[in-house]
Structure formats: C-alpha cells, structure tokens
C-alpha cells in the first residue's frame, strides 16, 4: 500500500513481536493473582465516613433532608430563599404563620426528579434547615413517590453533606 506511514526507528529489543507478546502475557498472568477491586454492591456498600473500604466522596450531594429542632418541628422558617435560588425550580413552598407570628411552611415539597442536586438550597438556607444528604439508594415503585413532602424530608435520617460550612462560606 502506498500510504505514507511514518516509520518509527525503535531499538531492536522493542520491535520483536514474539518477545513483546510474551512479556504482555506475563503481565496479564500476574494480574490474575492481584487483589480484586470490584465492590460486591448489595453486600458491600460505600459509607460516608472512613469505616469501610469504599467511601463516598465528601462532595457527594444526594437526596434532601430537613433538619428539625428539639420539639420535632422543622427548622424551616419559610423565608422563600430556596425556591428562589433553585435553578431547576423543583421546590414548592407555601408559607404559613402561627398565632405568635412565627413563620413555618404549610407545604414544602421537593420534586427529586427535577432536582439537579446543585446544593444551592443548602448553601442559601439561613436556618440550616434544608440539606442535601450523603445517600444514594433512592429507588421507588412509582414516580409520584419521588415528590418528597415535609414529613418525608424530616423523617430522613441519613447523614447530610458537610461540604458547605455556613461558618466558612467561602470555603477557606
């Protein structure tokens, strides 16, 4: 064939095909006895801390969780910042006010299908109420189960992301 292929000038021990092939075969044979790296998923799981072999990255942002105060009420004051900043427009908030003038959410719903898990809601929240969680097992049997209401968000117990620390907002 008259294709102009650039010819590499290599040392002779490199151009021997048989010896190179044998070298490769020795390498693959060695690999057969090396430790396996596959995670056996349902039996082994990634953990948020350093306990297990497999750890979730500290940057992981999973499904949300609403923190509650000592009386079991959600910390949310229905200020409206999270639906405002949400780029996916997935947070539905209807504010309410009790007799003492405390604002609280009448309806607080997050559509986890629309959520892009940017974590802005956690960053913007002045009360540290809404958080993105370190959690990745979210399967459900129907689509409507993915609209998490206030009760669902408050009853989640998985650890929350600590990447954004309110006392250190610029990440220093």
């Amino acid at each position: 064939m008259a294709i102009g292929v650039k010819v590499m000038k290599r040392p002779e021990r490199q151009v021997s095909y048989v010896r190179a092939a044998l070298k490769g075969m020795v390498l693959t044979f060695k690999h057969m006895f090396q430790p396996k790296v596959t995670m056996q998923y349902p039996e082994e799981k990634s953990t948020a801390d350093e306990r297990g072999t497999y750890t979730i990255s500290p940057r992981w942002r999973g499904t949300h969780r609403m923190l509650t105060d000592e009386q079991g009420r959600s910390k949310c004051v229905a200020c409206g910042l999270c639906p405002q900043i949400c780029p996916a427009n997935c947070i539905k908030l209807v504010p309410g006010e009790d007799e003492e003038g405390n604002r609280y959410p009448l309806i607080y719903e997050i559509d986890e299908f629309r959520c892009i898990f940017c974590g802005y809601c956690q960053e913007v929240c002045p009360e540290e109420a809404i958080h993105v969680g370190v959690h990745y097992e979210n399967s459900e049997y129907s689509r409507d189960r993915f609209v998490y209401d206030l009760e669902r968000l408050s009853s989640q117990v998985h650890p929350v992301s600590t990447l954004w620390d309110p006392s250190d907002p610029t990440g220093e």
Binding site: V5, V7, V15, S16, H31, M32, K36, V37
Partner: protein
C-alpha cells in the same frame, strides 16, 4: 446384521452421546471460564451471582437466548440466513469425532439387549468416536468447511458490516489453512502415519513432539488461533470496526450457535495441539497407561483433559493480552512469514531426518528426536531472535520507501 456389527454400532452411539454431551457442557462452562479469566486478568471478579461462584450463569444465558425474540433483517436471504449458524456449528462438532480422548480400552462382552438383540464386542476400543486411519486429513477437510457458515452468514445478512466480516473470514481462514496444513508435514514425516492414534503412539516411545518439532508447534498454534477467529485474529468479528462482523444481524439462539461453534472449535484445536505435540493422552514416564484397563483409560482421559484445558486457558490468556492485528498485517503474517517458515521447516526437517537415519545411521527414537530438538533450538534462535526484528509484523509502508514519501508527493500534487 452380525452381533459384532451391532456391538460396534451400540458402542459408537454411546461414544457419540458422551463426546457430544461433554463437549456441549464444556462449551457452556467455557463461556463462563472466558468471562472469569478475563475478569481476573483485569482485577475484577467476573460473574458470581447465579449459582455458586456463577456456575449456573451459562444456564441462565442459555434460557435467556432461547426465550429471546428472533429477528430477521428485512432483505435477508432467509434460507441461507437460517442455514448459516448450523453450517458453522456442524463442522466444529464433527472435528471432535476423530480426537482420541483416552487410552484404548480392552472390551469383551456378549449380551442380549432389548429391541437390538444379541450384541458382542471384542478387542481394543479406541476412545475416539471414529478412529479414522485418515484422521489428520479428515481434520484438514472438515475445518475448511467451517468458513462456509461464516461467509454465508455475512452474505445473507444483507448488511455491509456482515459482508465485510464474512469476506475477511473467508480470506483469513483460507490463508491460514495453508500454514496449518504445512506446519504438520514435518510431524507426518516423523510418524509416517496420519491417524491420530498412531501419532500418539509414536510419541509414547520417544519425546513429545513439541520438543523436536517446536517450530511446527508454534506455527500450528498461531494458525489455530487464526482458524478459530480468536483474538488477536478476530478480524471477522472485530467489534470496534465491524460492530460484530458476520453475526451483527443474528439474535437469540442463532447468535448463540455461532458462539458455541467458536468455543467448540477452540476445544478441537486445543485437543489437537495436545494430541499432536503434547503426547495426547500419554502420561509421561509411565508404561502402564497403555495396558487397556478401564482405570488407565480414566487416568489418561484426565491427563488429556488437563492438557486440553491448559491450551483452552492459553486461548483466553492470549485473547485478553494481545490487541487485534490490522488486516494487512494479518495477511502478511500468514503469507509472508508463517508459510515460508513452514515450507523451509519442512525442507530442513526432511533433510535432517534423512541425515540422521541414512547418513548417521541412528534409528532409535530418543537420540533421533534429541538431535532434532537441538536443531530446533538453533532454528528457534534464528526465527525468534534474528527474523523477529520488525519482520514478522511490518507496517503498511513498502520497505525501503522513504517515510512520508507518498504523503508528501500527494501534498505536492
């Protein structure tokens, strides 16, 4: 029909059933082994969910493949399209008929069977389905038929990738068939017989032929890889270039049949390497394995299994080590390297045998094979250290042409 003929028929049918069943189960387990070996070589675990250590995975795959929908391309030639998997599968199974799987067994029986009547069998029974006196020629004839299945599959799919795969397969298998046949001529010169039984027997008396005929072994192994269309010679499939080559359009069990054919071919080639160059069922340094007892047959069968298994592992080992050849490299390796080396090797071995037997007058097996072994050490050095300097595989440029000459000429024009 005489009782002897009936006995022969009964024994043959039994042997057929056993060989077919063992091969098919073995092929199923080989698909698992392939996945396991590939996983281990890549630091993975491989299938381990279905059954203990994934042993039932082939069964699950089989059920899935049978239950799947069969699709037919709209413009396909349906008759040939349906026939092709069978044409790939049948020669692969036929080949396993002539391989002696164990030492011959002494059998004597005269019994009355229901429906069949009086049957009898006396004498040594070869542990091959058909102990053909033309064993090796049969293998050459049948293994050439395997190309029909692949070429017709590629043609009838009416798909350009399949067609290219089929064409490549035809060219490749025809080319390497030549080197495959030629590589065995020195072996036939040594044994003076083409039957597999005789070839095994002549290795029992001296050395296994891998030592005195090392270059034959090497050429046969490489051609064997090409004949089975395994990496590094899997041109007909070539996932990254041709999608899946000749079986792009096949689905469900028809697709599986191509796979079964490939693995059955692997088994046959491995068994042939073991038989021709590694003494077949022979257990080294022992004579009792030729005694004809059932125990000896079982032991030699296990030994044959181990040898075959080692070469099956080698097939997988090579597949998961070496990258695919370029098509022109494949062709030049076959025609410009393997064939000339095989032809020269025939000449040299023939001269050496003539010299040793006629001139030097050595006819005892061991010294004769020992001298041939020394000759092979020298030839092996020449081939692997002097010839193999960028000559076995070469680029697509013409040797001697200045690099980039054609490209700069085109750029100037």
């Amino acid at each position: 029909m005489t009782p002897e003929f009936k006995g022969f028929l009964v024994i043959s049918v039994l042997k057929m059933l056993v060989v077919f069943t063992v091969t098919m189960v073995g092929v199923a387990l080989l698909t698992l082994m392939e996945r396991k070996v590939s996983a281990w070589m890549q630091n993975r675990r491989g299938p381990n969910r279905v059954g203990w250590a994934g042993l039932l995975q082939p069964a699950a795959d089989g059920v899935k493949n049978i239950a799947k929908e069969e699709t037919f391309p709209a413009e396909a030639n349906l008759g040939i399209f349906t026939l092709a998997p069978a044409l790939a599968f049948i020669p692969a199974m036929l080949l396993s008929a002539v391989i002696p799987w164990a030492a011959p067994v002494q059998i004597d029986f005269d019994t009355h069977l229901p429906l069949i009547g009086y049957v009898s069998y006396h004498g040594r029974m070869a542990m091959a389905v058909a102990d053909l006196p033309i064993g090796f020629l049969f293998v050459l004839a049948i293994s050439s038929l395997g190309v029909y299945g692949i070429a017709l599959a590629g043609w009838s799919s009416n798909n350009k990738y399949s067609l290219l795969g089929g064409l490549r397969a035809s060219a490749q298998m025809v080319s390497y068939e030549v080197a495959l046949g030629m590589s065995l001529i020195p072996l036939l010169l040594l044994t003076g017989n083409v039957g597999f039984g005789e070839i095994v027997r002549s290795q029992q008396n001296g050395l296994w032929f891998v030592l005195p005929l090392f270059l034959s072994f090497f050429i046969f192994l490489v051609s064997g890889f090409a004949e089975t269309n395994r990496l590094p010679f899997d041109m007909p499939e070539a996932e990254s270039e041709l999608i899946a080559g000749y079986h792009t359009e096949y689905s469900a069990m028809k697709f599986s049949l191509f796979f079964i054919a490939e693995y059955a071919n692997m088994v046959t080639i491995s068994a042939m390497v073991a038989t021709l160059f590694f003494g077949g069922w022979d257990i080294p340094f022992m004579r009792w394995d030729e005694g004809g007892s059932v125990l000896a047959a079982l032991a030699t069968g296990a030994f044959m299994f181990l040898k075959t298994f080692f070469f099956l592992f080698t097939f997988m080992w090579v597949r998961w080590t070496l990258p695919r050849f370029r098509y022109d490299q494949l062709m030049s390796l076959g025609w410009k390297f393997l064939l000339p080396v095989a032809l020269c090797y025939i000449m040299i071995t023939a001269l050496a045998i003539w010299g040793i037997e006629r001139v030097a007058g050595i006819t005892a097996a061991v010294p004769k094979l020992g001298i041939l072994f020394l000759l092979n050490v020298v030839l092996g050095y020449i081939v692997f250290f002097l010839l193999d300097r960028g000559h076995i595989l070469s680029g697509s440029y013409r040797r001697g042409e200045p690099a980039g000459g054609a490209a700069s000429a085109r750029a100037a024009a």
